[in-house]
Symmetry: C2
Subunit: 108 residues, 2 copies
DNA sequence: CACAAGGTACGTATTGCGTCATACCTAAGA
DNA sequence: TCTTAGGTATGACGCAATACGTACCTTGTG
């Protein structure tokens, strides 16, 4: 066990929670933006400009974190979220490409 | 428009409804079994032995049908469901492999 | 210290989803 | 024709998920 601060181990990443997390349009938008960005990109929760309040934002990122899609690291003042690209690609190869290529996930 | 009897055209198949459909464990189990079977396999709704009633079964297959995952064709007495493998693979390549390979989708 | 910014936790309302029961339809067989 | 089997449509119920407001914590800055 490394941190397990709500983050599942790479082997514990399962299809069910991942699909459940990606079923929500807002969460899928977050993953799509992260997937299109270069690997290792760190972004704060608020930087995605989702049309929800702070508490709802926290809820969505908790789902993303507990599903294993993103890792949240403390950056002093705020908390940065970065995509667990390698872990997901190892367990579910090609999934992130599908989300990234989805034109429905409008960023405009 | 061909049939469009609740079946979306191949171009209309979108990631959102597909993921929403696959988020449910019962529906994912159906798709997993169909994906593991040879292409063109036709199965009746009841043949999957899902632990739900008839009406719930109809509901789930409606979601699968309207998302574009399966096509339901009238077979006189009953209605056979078959996986729209080519259509899905064209829009979302690799997705069916992930569902088929998921060991969480226990069939035992 | 005071204050603002970013997140979290708790409680709560509301919506959606899965589930069922019932009633109805169609096709095949006795 | 009657019965049985497989599906569908509708309505209702319960639970989970999304959403919000509020309060609170932490870090950084004035």
């Amino acid at each position: 066990m490394t941190d397990s601060d709500g983050h599942p181990e790479p082997e514990q990443i399962a299809l069910g929670p991942i699909l459940a997390a990606l079923a929500d349009p807002l969460r899928r938008r977050v993953i799509a933006e992260l997937a299109r960005a270069p690997d290792g990109t760190e972004r704060t929760c608020a930087s995605f400009n989702l049309p929800v309040t702070k508490s709802t934002l926290t809820h969505h990122f908790k789902v993303l974190r507990e599903s294993g899609l993103v890792r949240q690291v403390d950056r002093g003042n705020s908390r940065a979220a970065c995509l667990r690209r390698a872990d997901i690609e190892a367990k579910l190869p090609g999934l992130l490409s599908l989300v990234a290529a989805d034109e429905t996930t409008g960023q405009g």
